[in-house]
């Protein structure tokens, strides 16, 4: 396996299969179906709908679960033989509420530092530093049970950083945060990755957050990879590949009249405040729109084709996979797991 991992790869998964329930039984659920992929160093997103197998994969990487088949290396270490070494180098931020009861923030982070092998004084010093870093300086001595959702998210981030990991796995880091808290968390995550060179694997349902923090994305569905690559490349390919594209149009003049003209020509559109989103498949749409504007004495202020976003990639790739498979038995089983 070692030859499979190059310096710039942090994760190399080969044929990992995980089946819940008895094998070959009709009740069994295939969570991961001989999944194979690699992740580059940097900020990576792990995406997929509910029941896609993201959490199962993370659990396998952290040795919470054993895979039925396959092999994988994380940070150059075999996940089945060197789980301890991996957990020494990895910080994990769980999705759900997770605290150590009866202690304050600094004691919780310091304890997790000591369990990671930091000497007592160093663990305490780093607990103070990381809490300061994530913006919980004022709340260091408060009992963690009294923390709000936003503070708990920051606390979970601080505890992942305390042992200076090479890789951080973040499971829904912006879950339950208000808009300001979300922005702060995204900024923190970006800073951790870009300024301190810590690798990231972020699993989230909030795709705009992923676009803001990650460079690479791996989309999985029904236990298999459906798309992988640089987010910018994936969205570029999506923009080029879709049959019906959108053109953002802003006009000066009689809006009602222009919309009526579009309707008469049979051009589909949607109106968002003053922006008209014109759907097209014909590359000559700009000429058609300019001509319509000229005929109706309307001035076109902006006319730009709208770019695909990660959400488009996500929705289309998963829909493509479902269409190709025609909902076989395995898919029905995974639906049950939701």
């Amino acid at each position: 396996m070692s030859s499979l991992v190059h310096q710039k790869e942090i994760l190399c998964v080969e044929g990992i299969t995980k089946i819940f329930g008895k094998k070959n039984s009709p009740q069994s659920i295939i969570a991961l179906d001989a999944i194979s992929f690699k992740m580059n160093a940097g900020a990576n997103a792990l995406l997929g709908p509910n029941g896609a197998g993201k959490s199962t994969l993370i659990k396998i990487l952290l040795s919470y679960l054993k895979a039925d088949q396959g092999e994988a290396q994380l940070l150059g270490h075999d996940i089945f033989k060197e789980g301890m070494l991996i957990r020494q180098k990895v910080g994990y931020m769980p999705e759900h509420f997770a605290i150590i009861p009866g202690v304050n923030a600094v004691k919780q982070v310091s304890l997790l530092g000591r369990i990671s092998g930091l000497p007592k004084e160093e663990a305490m010093q780093r607990a103070h530093e990381t809490l300061q870093y994530v913006g919980l300086n004022e709340a260091r001595y408060r009992k963690v049970k009294e923390f709000s959702t936003g503070m708990l998210q920051r606390l979970k981030l601080a505890q992942t950083l305390v042992n200076d990991p090479e890789l951080i796995i973040l499971d829904e880091p912006t879950n339950g945060l208000d808009p300001n808290g979300r922005i702060d968390m995204i900024e923190l995550v970006k800073e951790i990755s870009k300024e301190h060179g810590i690798n990231l694997i972020v699993s989230s349902h909030l795709l705009p957050d992923i676009e803001a923090t990650c460079e690479f994305a791996t989309i999985i569905n029904k236990g298999a990879v459906v798309a992988q690559g640089k987010i910018s490349e994936l969205t570029y390919q999506e923009t080029r590949s879709v049959e019906k594209k959108n053109m953002k149009v802003e006009i000066r003049g009689d809006l009602e009249r222009f919309l009526a003209a579009l309707q008469t020509k049979g051009i589909p559109f949607q109106l968002f405040e003053n922006t008209i989103l014109v759907q097209y498949s014909d590359e000559e749409i700009s000429t058609v729109l300019l001509k319509l504007a000229y005929e109706n004495d309307i001035q076109i202020r902006t006319m730009v084709p709208s770019e695909a976003i990660l959400e488009d990639v996500f929705v289309h790739r998963i829909a493509d996979m479902n269409n190709k498979n025609g909902l076989p038995t395995k898919e029905t089983k995974i639906e049950v797991s939701k």
């Binding site: 659990k59 952290l62 919470y64 301890m84 070494l85 957990r87 020494q88 990895v90 910080g91 994990y92 769980p94 759900h96 509420f97 997770a98 605290i99 150590i100 009861p101 009866g102 202690v103 004691k107 304890l111 997790l112 000591r114 369990i115 990671s116 092998g117 930091l118 000497p119 007592k120 160093e122 010093q125 780093r126 103070h128 530093e129 990381t130 300061q132 870093y133 300086n137 505890q159 950083l161 042992n163 200076d164 951790i192 300024e195 301190h196």
Partner: protein, 300 residues
């Protein structure tokens, strides 16, 4: 680096080993379990016999110095017999519910609270095995439980030795008493603590764990007393937690002469060897069951 500078610092220092991590879990859990005002009240209540003996010793030494020698060494038959008598007072069938309630109440949340608060996801994402976690938690339970066993007993012994002094042949007896006290305390703590630890691991509700462990420690005695109404047999007494503890401690102390002023109050009729074997076996079984349970625990 000052904590007031908001920045991230890399760590290139030493990484401590397995025992340090286990000890960190144990001490942190101990601090959490052993905090709160109710602890002081419970501690005084559970240690009433040993507190009474210690106070009696101190007051006697101050006001009636001759009484110390007469009562503790003459009346009870030596420091080892005195210590055994105190343990017997604390764990006799009439008073054993106090240490049982203390041990169960304080330790029932050891693993249950971690399950309730999803702490297992935090612990198990760190470089420790589930056995390390279980040992850390078990050590914490044993440390908490020691406050109703060998910690107060040692306080009494030290007070006794300071007031009475040790000389000549008594040194050997005193050393043996210390060792026996520690062994007895550890045996009781290991036996009861392992049972509580297991029940703490079966549910997210610490109250449920506490109630179940109290029931498990009391029910056999109750059943035995009911059976004893119909069948007359010595082996039924092995169902009584209090009687097997007393039998084990009696053997550990070398079957001291317990004739208090000529009356045989505390001599055990059960086999100490069987009692010790039972306590160690049950303790090990419950500890292994806890580890097994933790390995089957799904972490979310």
């Amino acid at each position: 680096m000052s904590v007031f500078n908001r920045s991230y610092r890399e760590y290139k220092g030493e990484i401590k080993g397995r025992f340090f991590k286990i000890w960190s879990i144990a001490t942190q859990t101990f601090r959490v379990q052993f905090s709160g005002k109710k602890i002081i009240f419970l501690l005084i209540l559970c240690n009433l016999p040993v507190i009474s003996f210690t106070l009696m010793l101190i007051f006697s030494a101050i006001f009636f110095p001759a009484f110390v020698r007469e009562f503790f060494l003459g009346g009870l038959g030596g420091v080892d017999a005195t210590m055994y008598t105190i343990i017997n007072f604390s764990f006799n069938p009439g008073l054993i519910f106090l240490p049982i309630v203390f041990i169960c109440a304080l330790n029932s949340g050891t693993i249950a609270n971690d399950k309730k608060n999803n702490s297992l996801a935090l612990y198990f994402s760190r470089p420790i095995t589930r056995i390390d976690y279980a040992i850390g938690k078990a050590l914490s339970v044993y440390m908490v439980s020691s406050f109703v066993t060998f910690v107060p007993w040692f306080v009494f012994l030290v007070t006794f030795n300071l007031l009475e002094g040790v000389s000549g042949l008594a040194i050997k007896t005193v050393i043996m008493t210390y060792l026996s006290t520690f062994a007895s305390g550890f045996l009781i703590v290991f036996f009861m603590g392992s049972i509580v630890l297991y029940f703490s691991s079966i549910s997210k509700q610490s109250v449920l764990g506490g109630i179940l462990s109290i029931l498990v420690l009391f029910l056999p005695s109750l059943v035995a007393s009911l059976i004893a109404e119909f069948i007359e047999a010595d082996w039924i007494q092995y169902f009584s937690i209090a009687l097997i503890i007393v039998a084990a401690v009696f053997l550990i102390f070398g079957s001291p002469s317990t004739s208090m002023f000529g009356m045989n109050f505390f001599e055990s009729t059960l086999s100490g060897g069987v009692a010790i074997t039972l306590m160690i076996t049950i303790g090990i079984i419950f500890l292994l069951m806890t580890i097994n349970r933790l390995y089957r625990e799904e972490v979310s």
